[in-house]
């Protein structure tokens, strides 16, 4: 066979371009609504273990919390969050508050502290999960406290976002706001699709473990 005389400008190489693009940023791991909700297992403030897989057949609400965050305080001081929790419990919904800020950061609590907070604030979640390694928050791509998620009875994530539509720390805004979580929860319980399944969450930035990035 014949031969070629070829310029040696072979600076480039061929491409597994598809495969080699730089990895995406962490926060994009937020699961999509309509997809199975990420499973997790965690221990609550009274030492009981909770697994999302065991809660199939029930509607579950996840609420990330940081009791020192002004936005969390807005909804607890106004008893808005507690009202939500009681309403949900009355409808058979499992409300899980998750203290997911990393150990040592603002909002990280011991089980005893979590119980005190529940008592002092007259809160009514099914449980407060203690998540010092932010595993649940990371699985759900939570970026703020409070960041709200609803998982339907089949284990599908059906809502993620803010608790309501007015991103402020002002208690007076609560009655004026569109109640995203309440509306979505009612739709889920009525077997309807959620009209606004993904909204902008607002609050204090989640505090993930510092070594994680």
């Amino acid at each position: 066979m014949s031969n070629f005389n070829v310029p040696r400008r072979s600076l480039m190489l061929g491409g597994a371009a598809l495969a080699l693009a730089p990895a995406a940023a962490f926060a994009s791991t937020s699961p999509d609504v309509g997809k199975p909700a990420p499973l997790f297992t965690a221990v609550d403030s009274s030492g009981k273990s909770w697994s999302l897989a065991d809660l199939k057949g029930k509607v579950v609400v996840l609420e990330t919390t940081n009791h020192d965050c002004p936005y969390v305080r807005k909804h607890y001081n106004s008893t808005n969050m507690q009202t939500h929790q009681r309403e949900a419990a009355a409808k058979g919904v499992v409300w899980l508050t998750t203290a997911s800020n990393a150990a040592g950061e603002q909002g990280a609590v011991t089980p005893a502290q979590a119980n005190d907070l529940t008592q002092n604030r007259n809160a009514a979640p099914a449980a407060v999960l203690i998540d010092p390694q932010s595993k649940i928050a990371r699985a759900y791509g939570a970026t703020v406290t409070p960041h709200m998620y609803i998982i339907d009875a089949k284990g599908t994530l059906v809502y993620k976002g803010g608790i309501d539509s007015i991103p402020s720390s002002n208690v007076a805004d609560i009655p004026k706001a569109k109640q995203y979580v309440r509306v979505a929860l009612d739709e889920v319980l009525a077997g309807k699709p959620v009209t606004e399944p993904s909204t902008q969450a607002y609050g204090c930035t989640m505090k993930y473990p510092r070594t994680s990035t």
């Binding site: 066979m1 014949s2 031969n3 070629f4 005389n5 070829v6 310029p7 040696r8 400008r9 072979s10 600076l11 480039m12 190489l13 061929g14 491409g15 597994a16 371009a17 598809l18 495969a19 080699l20 693009a21 730089p22 990895a23 995406a24 940023a25 962490f26 926060a27 994009s28 791991t29 937020s30 020192d68 965050c69 002004p70 936005y71 990393a102 950061e105 603002q106 970026t143 703020v144 993620k160 976002g161 991103p167 402020s168 720390s169 606004e196 399944p197 993904s198 902008q200 969450a201 607002y202 609050g203 204090c204 930035t205 989640m206 505090k207 993930y208 473990p209 510092r210 994680s212 990035t213």
Partner: protein, 708 residues
């Protein structure tokens, strides 16, 4: 009484200062005005200045994955209107993996106030501002501000210090994008933004980032992998959290850093990209879909896979065909010989890849950052590759066999039998595979380049191994060899058939070339090809040493030289293309300016006129921005005219020799460069590379104080 006097003094000196500052735990906030006295009917700027504690930050209009933007509610006298906040260019903050867009240290949020023409009495501006300020923890804060401005027949500017703050703030606001933009959505729903900034120099532009104006459509990303080519800027993005369809126009702020002769300048542009339904970008990456950090082992596997895929590239076919034919010929010979052959081919591929890796590492070591793909910006490279494909195609078609005379390097290496031949076939495979896969290159190398040197080398070698693997496996496995057809006439037919993918590749490279140079490129490339074909024909007419043969050889040599001379024409290409495109944003606009010549400059200066010289280039973004914000504003134009300035513009897009010599004299490596000759001055004043209107106006006023 004393207190009253003090109060009076304060009121006289600076109305309402006492109420315009709010000090919170983390922010000192102040409402400032650009004017000391406002004129009814004339808009002016006020600003909320936030001076933050170190490490704390407030948020942009789209705060990113958490945070909230500052809000200002105004209480104004009837008829007075306040515009929206005009935001400074934001920064990206990565707070433990949560991406925020915001500000640190000291910023001024501008708001335009328009008092009605019939306004009477002092103008009292009351603002109720809310902001969220975060370090690790987030604190919502607020402040009530009041500022009372007297009215006057003409607006009086504020004190110089405040004016300077406003000047800086206005410079820190994104300008309207001079380029159109569009975006397409991939099948996976991720948008890709294309900014049609033609004719940019890719290697001068870095840190490209697109800040989406609103939450939800586009995810806030820690890092965007924008690619800059002569065609424009392309930024693959990720769909945001909102479940609503992507909007008809995607608004946001594009930030980039341009390397100029004097250092780096950050530029920001507001743009609105129209949804282009015809543009469906390829899924940006598997990694984005899987969103997992690639481990090193995964990267190696993917690289191997990528190398395998290279075998499917049309340009590599002929090389593989050569190998297949060689293999068939070797069939029945010693198995060890066949194995040696396979190993030699693999070695050739790997050595080429190793050389490439060495180049990459070396460039990175010397330059710091490699902007990959620059070779493919070179039209010369495209042309040479097109020629290569064409010649290889002719050879496959049987138009000629490479002889020692044509190649001029003795018997071609790849044709050499045995191990050496196989080795160089491997090298050849890499060389021909390379241009075929250009579009994939940047992304693939993006990963390799972001790794430390040993990983870069390993990834590239894995890719090479992937390329060599099919043949290596074939030569090592007798079972597979039995599947190979026997040698026969089919080999010739296959070879002839394979000429067509080569021609197709040549056509593709010419198309690439036209993208780089405009339609002239076609002329040079096809003309060059005819010359090459002519040369081949001449050489085939006969051998020997008769005078006629030598004549033909001479002619052939001339034809080849002419074909390659086309590369010199192409060097000037991109700029020509940019100006030929005719769009007002590409090319240099000479309206209101004379073309620079040294002669004209000297003559005008000798005649005692003030001379302003603007050295610019079509690809220089900073030049373009300076023109928009400082040189071509109505006020500057008027001032130039009043002062009788001779305005000269030098277009360095084409590396004009005369301009280059001027730059050299002034010890400049490139544009932008602005010279101002005051009348009678011994030498020109060199203005900074980032201009402001004020700067030009004060330069001009210094030469003609009486006229103004």
């Amino acid at each position: 009484m004393l207190r009253f006097l003090a109060l009076l003094l304060v009121v006289l000196a600076s109305p309402a200062l006492a109420q315009s500052v709010v000090q919170t735990d983390n922010v000192r906030a102040e409402l400032l005005s650009d004017v000391a006295a406002a004129k009814p009917g004339e808009p002016f700027w006020v600003g909320l200045r936030q001076t933050m504690r170190p490490k704390w930050h407030t948020y942009w209009k789209n705060p990113g994955e958490s945070g909230l933007p500052t809000e200002i509610a105004w209480t104004l006298p009837p008829g007075v209107t306040a515009g929206p906040i005009v935001w400074p260019v934001p920064h990206v903050f990565d707070i433990g993996g949560v991406i925020n867009y915001g500000f640190k240290d000291d910023i001024l949020l501008l708001v335009r106030i328009t008092p009605p023409a019939d306004l009477t009495g002092p103008l009292k501006l009351a603002a109720d501002a809310h902001w969220l300020v975060c370090e690790d923890v987030c604190i919502p804060e607020e402040g009530k501000f009041e500022l009372t401005l007297p009215l006057a027949a003409t607006a009086t500017p504020s004190d110089p210090k405040t004016r300077a703050l406003f000047e800086t703030a206005r410079r820190n606001v994104a300008m309207e994008s001079p380029w159109p933009a569009r975006y397409g959505v991939s099948k996976s729903g991720d948008p890709t933004l294309v900014v049609e900034a033609k004719g940019l120099k890719p290697d001068t532009i870095s840190n490209v980032y697109f800040f989406p104006a609103e939450w939800g459509d586009v995810a806030a990303m820690a890092k965007q992998t924008a690619s800059v080519t002569a065609e424009g800027i392309r930024i693959p993005l990720k769909k945001g959290e909102a479940k609503t369809p992507l909007p008809a126009a995607l608004a946001g702020t594009l930030v980039l850093t341009e390397k100029t002769a004097d250092g780096s300048v950050q530029q920001a542009f507001d743009l609105s990209a129209k949804l282009d339904p015809a543009f469906v970008p390829q899924a940006t990456s598997l990694a984005a879909a899987g969103s997992e950090q690639l481990t090193f082992v995964q990267a190696l596997l993917f690289a191997l896979l990528g190398g395998l895929i290279l075998n499917l590239m049309p340009c590599v076919f002929p090389v593989l065909a050569m190998k297949a034919a060689a293999l068939a010929r070797l069939a029945g010979r010693e198995r060890s010989e066949m194995r040696r052959d396979g190993l030699a081919y693999t070695a050739g591929v790997l050595v080429s890849f190793a050389a490439m890796a060495a180049v990459v590492v070396a460039i990175r070591a010397s330059v710091g950052e490699v902007t990959w793909g620059f070779q493919f910006q070179s039209p010369v490279f495209s042309l040479l590759i097109a020629y290569l494909f064409f010649v290889v195609g002719l050879n496959l078609s049987g138009a000629f066999e490479f002889g020692n005379r044509l190649a001029g390097v003795g018997k071609g290496l790849a044709a050499r039998g045995g191990v050496t031949g196989s080795f160089f076939t491997g090298v050849l495979a890499v060389v021909v595979a390379t241009p075929c896969t250009a579009p994939f290159m940047a992304a693939a190398l993006g990963f390799a380049l972001s790794q430390p040197a040993p990983a870069t080398v390993a990834v590239l070698l894995a890719m090479g191994l992937g390329l060599a693997l099919p043949y290596l496996a074939l030569s090592m496995t007798p079972a597979l060899q039995r599947l190979m057809p026997r040698p026969g006439p089919w080999m010739d037919r296959l070879r002839q058939f394979l000429a067509f993918p080569m021609y197709a590749s040549a056509v593709w490279m010419i198309w690439v070339l036209t993208q780089q140079t405009g339609s002239d490129g076609v002329l040079y490339a096809l003309g060059g090809m005819i010359l090459i074909a002519f040369a081949i024909w001449l050489l085939r007419l006969g051998a020997g040493s008769s005078p006629a043969t030598w004549m033909r050889r001479g002619l052939a040599a001339i034809a080849v030289v002419l074909a390659f001379a086309a590369t010199f024409k192409l060097e000037d290409g991109p700029a020509t293309a940019a100006s030929a495109a005719g769009s007002p944003t590409s090319g240099v606009n000479f309206e209101g300016w004379e073309r620079f010549t040294r002669e004209r400059m000297t003559a005008a200066h000798a005649a005692g006129k003030p001379v302003f010289v603007d050295f610019t280039a079509a690809w220089c973004i900073t030049c373009l921005v300076n023109e928009r914000v400082a040189l071509e504003t109505p006020a500057t134009r008027r001032a130039f005219e009043q002062a009788g300035v001779v305005k000269l513009k030098g277009d360095w897009t084409n590396r004009d020799a005369e301009i280059t010599s001027v730059l050299k004299e002034l010890n400049r490596a490139g544009v932008p460069l602005y010279l101002f000759w005051a009348p009678g001055a011994d030498q020109p004043k060199i203005l900074p590379q980032v201009l402001t209107e004020t700067m030009i106006l004060s330069e001009l006023s210094s030469i003609q104080p009486t006229k103004r």
